[in-house]
């Protein structure tokens, strides 16, 4: 187990370094280069010259690369072109918003997806099963930004059930402790603010959860059907185990492995979904940051940091999923 973790950690490092190198050389080779991106078109030769010297672009490329790597490793990701703030500050401000949204989405997707997939498999070929198949197929075929606008249009404009955008009502703002608004309200005992933040969270979380939910339902259903066909289920049945025991110990436990894998993959994919969802609901997290840093003139330092962060999160989540196998499946632990 330790060897597996070590090998994966090394892989993680190698992948991140490769990605970093790719981005570095790509940005250097943009037409006009990053200097033009920083200055815009109306720069005098003198300001250009000064900036080139200040950024160290007059140095040989390998010196620049080494400096870049050293900065990234020490956590200095440069300053945002748009706002001039350090990139790390910009990102850490947006980070809790996206984590809050993604966690809510995962809770919805897993909490509804596994039971639904299981039920569909148990009722194979009947109405519930067929309905589930049709709905999940539409779920993976619908552009989620469109679904977001639909929900927003139906539930906030006419009926006023949910707030249309943002993370919290103006005026209901609570004390900022962690940046997770729902949690902050609980910590400071501002229950109203917490409820308000939770209320804001519902529609974006449902929108973001749609694709993972549909995929988890489908995988769970397929996986349970596979397991139900296995000889050991027939054996368990034949030796007179109670139905509930068979379901819990034999069916679910074995069927969950591919589901856990899928949950890992989908958690990573949530980062991409968040870009769309956050734009629809004006959420102000990392997704919004990506949209902002690519609209109009590109904010390369922010963009570059976000790409590295996304890859890092994606790989770490996958590593955690691998480790969770050891908990679910004793056979992995023996190895």
């Amino acid at each position: 187990m330790v060897r597996v973790v070590l090998r994966r950690l090394i892989q993680l490092g190698v992948t991140l370094i490769a990605l970093m190198t790719l981005i570095f050389f790509w940005l250097r080779n943009l037409p006009g280069g990053p200097v033009d991106a920083l200055l815009g078109e109306r720069a005098t030769p003198q300001t250009r010259e000064t900036l080139i010297r200040a950024l160290g672009y007059d140095q040989p490329i390998w010196v620049q690369y080494w400096r870049f790597v050293r900065n990234v490793v020490t956590g200095d990701l440069g300053n945002s072109i748009r706002t001039g703030e350090p990139v790390t500050a910009v990102i850490s401000r947006a980070f809790p918003a996206t984590v809050e949204l993604a966690l809510a989405a995962i809770v919805i997707a897993v909490g509804l997806g596994i039971p639904l997939g299981y039920l569909a498999a148990r009722h194979r070929g009947r109405l519930l099963d067929n309905a589930t198949i049709v709905v999940t197929l539409i779920g993976i075929s619908i552009p989620i930004f469109f679904l977001g606008y639909l929900l927003k249009d139906w539930l906030t404009q006419g009926a006023h059930v949910f707030p249309p955008s943002g993370r919290i009502s103006t005026g209901a703002g609570n004390t900022d402790v962690t940046g997770f608004f729902v949690l902050d309200g609980l910590l400071t005992r501002e229950w109203d603010a917490s409820a308000d933040a939770l209320w804001h969270l519902v529609l974006p979380a449902v929108t973001l959860a749609t694709i993972p939910l549909a995929i988890i339902v489908r995988i769970t259903r397929a996986s349970v059907l596979d397991v139900l066909d296995e000889d050991y289920i027939r054996t368990a049945d034949a030796k007179g185990l109670r139905d509930a025991t068979i379901r819990r110990r034999h069916v679910l436990r074995n069927a969950l492995l591919p589901v856990v894998t899928t949950i890992g993959l989908q958690t990573g994919a949530l980062l991409a979904g968040a870009v769309l969802t956050e734009k629809v609901y004006n959420w102000g997290g990392l997704g919004t940051l990506i949209t902002d840093s690519i609209s109009g003139s590109r904010d390369y330092p922010v963009l570059q940091a976000l790409i590295l962060l996304a890859a890092f999160v994606f790989i770490v989540v996958n590593l955690l999923v691998d480790l969770s196998y050891a908990v679910i499946d004793p056979r992995v632990r023996v190895r």
Partner: protein, 319 residues
Amino acid sequence: MTRPGGIATLAEHKRRRIDELTARTSGTGGVSLLRDAGRRLRRNPAAVVGAALILLFLVIAIFAPLVAPHDPVQRFPELTSRLTVDSIPGATAGHPLGSDPLGRDFASRMIYGARQTLFVGVLATLIGLLSGVLLGAVAGAAGGWVDVLIMRITDVMLALPSLLLAITLVALASESTQWTVIVAVAVVNVPVFARLLRGSMLAQRESDHVLAARALGVRGRDIVTRHMLPNSLTAVIVQATLTFAVAILDAAALSFLGLGDPDINRAEWGLMLGVDGVRYLEVRPELAYFPAAAIILVALGFTLLGESMREALDPKNRR
């Protein structure tokens, strides 16, 4: 790497999903398997519905000039004159679906949209498929450090969620055109096809038909092109069908993020939905509903057909 009982780590699982598909669909039974699969496919209602949907949109795309009442880029004075800030005219005589925000015939744009959308989807899938197949074939046939290098490159590309990779590629391109979108969506699929093909090549390298060809003195290049590639084809076709659905959804998402095709005359469903559709949702929701419905139906068609094909080719389901 594979553990007993079919347990694998996640990254392996991702790879194995591709490899499994390969093993199931390539070179296991020759023509009889294909014929058998074809028969099961025709009996599967999901496959028939999927194929019918694809065919329907294909016909609309091909005969768009005959079906569409008007030119999709022409602005009609009778429509533009009625455009205001908060109203876009609906159905009138000669314009069955009314106007778009620029006074163009919306029905014609929807019909020509089939053309552009399928064009983007097909090209993105094809470019991804061809580059992936080429890379995978080289990796599988060459082995050694070439193989390791190509596989590590695909690892890096798989380190980002697919839509995020596409966003990154468009954002890093200096200017956005229709081709930037197509290439970005295509590149995302290169590692998938590369892995698929490499797995299939590795599986075949030791198989009897390749050994036989080698024993007969067939040149290495001919073994790859004549004996190995054709056997990998079914797996590639299945994957391409599934890829297509994701490709048009990704293209629509890019349009919505402002990274799409900047040509305002282009009638493409993703653009129509992602730009005008969501902007005028409260004014005239049909501008979003129609392209969205079309995208959902096309994506659904390709997903249904792709999954049925995979199921039909699975030897487990053979009778």
